[in-house]
């Protein structure tokens, strides 16, 4: 029951929505489509659902040509980032809608709906109208409808993005439970997200997409440890990985005239020359023995502080694991954890990862 996309291309105007996408999805697996806004995630999901045409390319599901099957016969379920439900129907009727379309027996519909309602924790809300529910509950209804359908392909397009933080955390945990149940063994789950943390937490296969093109397709661990290029490194880290232009000369990494770091032993095999260096925000730490930087902006996020810093033309984002107050233009001393540096060649492709070369 594999879903295969081959060379999918869609370029309605000047930009590619989908640029030569060839992927294989296997039943029983969770795939996270990770990309920034307007990277082509929704376009790809809609193409699989049959809601968006393609200029060229083939979609095959279970050996059948999927392109020729209309949306309503595809047995696909989709949950949007907006909470899309049928406002004129009750919660029960919303969830039962796809089953009624299949002309299932009422007793079977009742069983399926009850089971889906139980999975998403909406017992007691069956007779409520959609307008009477909170945002999180509305999204649960949308999810329950897609679960009740028992579709072979379940597409989730940033389903948590419009929820508040706490609800997002709760539902994400529930998603993991739901996905690890019986459904996951029969279905292909494709979950689109802009949030690298969410993608890592779901711990499935990660497909990194940008400008309609697939940049990397690997396990969550592999994508995190070995991003194939600078764009993947930026997309798969929050805050985005710092990518700076520099060079290796005379056993030093030179980032600018003042920030020069001794070349770590494991980087000594790399030839002198110009490179892009990648460093996670958490690998730039406050340390009096480090380099002096100027604070451009300090953001407190939960129990962490994100510092936007510069020194001459060198700009960094640093993630401090505590809440500290900084003023703009404060001078701080920062140490760059050079042993965690990534090195990318001038084309932006990974040539050294601290994980791969441990």
């Amino acid at each position: 029951m594999n879903l295969i996309t081959e060379n999918l291309c869609f370029k309605p105007e000047h930009e590619y929505y989908l640029n030569d996408i060839s992927l294989e999805f296997k039943a029983g697996n969770l795939y996270t489509l990770l990309g920034r806004t307007l990277s082509g995630k929704t376009s790809f999901l809609k193409t699989i659902a049959g809601l968006q045409p393609v200029d060229s390319g083939q979609i095959t599901f279970a050996g059948k040509d999927f392109n020729s099957i209309p949306v309503w016969k595809r047995n696909v379920a989709m949950v949007y980032q907006q909470f899309i439900n049928y406002p004129h129907l009750t919660v029960f009727d919303n969830i039962a809608f796809p089953l009624k379309q299949r002309k299932m027996k009422f007793s079977d519909i009742q069983n399926e709906v009850s089971s889906a309602i139980k999975k998403v924790g909406l017992q007691g809300f069956e007779k409520r109208k959609i307008q009477e529910l909170s945002g999180g509950q509305q999204q649960r209804v949308a999810l329950a409808r897609s679960l009740a359908k028992k579709a072979k392909i379940l597409l989730l397009d940033e389903p948590l993005v419009n929820l508040d933080y706490k609800l997002r955390e709760d539902l994400r945990n529930e998603f993991k439970n739901i996905f690890s149940g019986d459904l996951s063994s029969q279905s292909i789950l494709i979950y689109a997200s802009t949030d690298p943390l969410e993608a890592m937490q779901l711990n499935g296969n990660i497909i990194v997409i940008d400008e309609g093109k697939i940049l990397q397709h690997d396990s969550a661990k592999e994508v995190f440890e070995n991003p194939s290029n600078v764009r993947v490194a930026e997309i798969t880290n929050e805050p985005a990985m710092n990518i700076v232009n520099g060079s290796i000369e005379s056993k030093k990494i030179i980032l600018n005239k003042d920030v020069q770091i001794d070349l770590p032993d494991k980087l000594k095999t790399i030839k002198p020359g110009k490179y892009f260096f990648g460093l996670r925000a958490s690998d730039i730490v406050l340390d009096d023995s480090g380099f002096q930087f100027v604070v451009d902006l300090a953001e407190i996020s939960g129990s962490e502080t994100i510092l936007h810093l510069h020194q001459d033309n060198l700009k960094f984002v640093s993630l401090i694991n505590e809440v500290k107050n900084f003023n703009n233009r404060d001078k701080v001393m920062l140490k760059i954890m050079s042993e965690n540096l990534y090195v990318f060649n001038e084309k932006g492709n990974l040539i050294f990862s601290p994980f791969k070369n441990k």
Binding site: A49, L51, W72, Y80, F83, I84, P87, H88, P98, Q138
Partner: protein, 265 residues
Amino acid sequence: MFVIAPFLWALSTSFKDFNSVTGGAKYIPWLQFEPSLEGWSVLIRSQGKGGVNIIEPYFNSVFVTCSASLLSIIFGTLAAYALSRFTFKAGFIKNNDITFFFISQRIMPPIVLSIPFFLMLGFLGLLDSLLGLILVYMVLLMPIAVWIMVDFFNRVPKEIDETALIDGCNPFEAFFKVVLPNSIPGLIVAGLFCIIFGWIDFFFAFILTFTKVQLLPVAIVALNSSVTPWWSLSASALVSVAPLIIVAFIVERYLSKGNLSGALK
């Protein structure tokens, strides 16, 4: 005051007779003038007995207005849905141009349309007929329906249609089972406007009918003679406006009922 006063004036005048109307400003029955049913009885007396029968024109108006409004809403809603959801392109003509074409029928002064309508209905043998009036009124009312419904459908999230398709509806089922039930407020507003504009039209009812068919506005004007019968004109004005008020009151309850707040939060 500006809404109620004309009604009260018409109501008061409808119970007056010639002497009460011409004898200065009088408004309160029994105190200032003796009420008379003359103005009302003229409307139901046969012409032989000095009356002007408005019952037949009344039902003609009801039939023409309801039929034209219903057809306009049906076709207008389908056209509006297509214009809202699908992209049309024929040379330089796109969706907005088509919508403007519909609305342009209302922009032109009626006199511009009257001669073509007269010639066309004459060619089809539909002058002085209810069917001819229904067709003409459809041309006048459908732009209103299209205009209101395009705007309404544009505000219904496209994702609702898509979800219905994903849930197993073909495009027609998606429209009838999901989009239309969620568009009831828009349908009611469009229907109300169609009924109002159809009901109050005098110009085409006057130009395109002669002897066989008469609509209410024309019958009311026909009441006028060398001495203006303010009492029967007032009575007929109240009779004419009554259905619109009743429809508005019935519809108002449903307008606030349906909304799309749960479709896309």
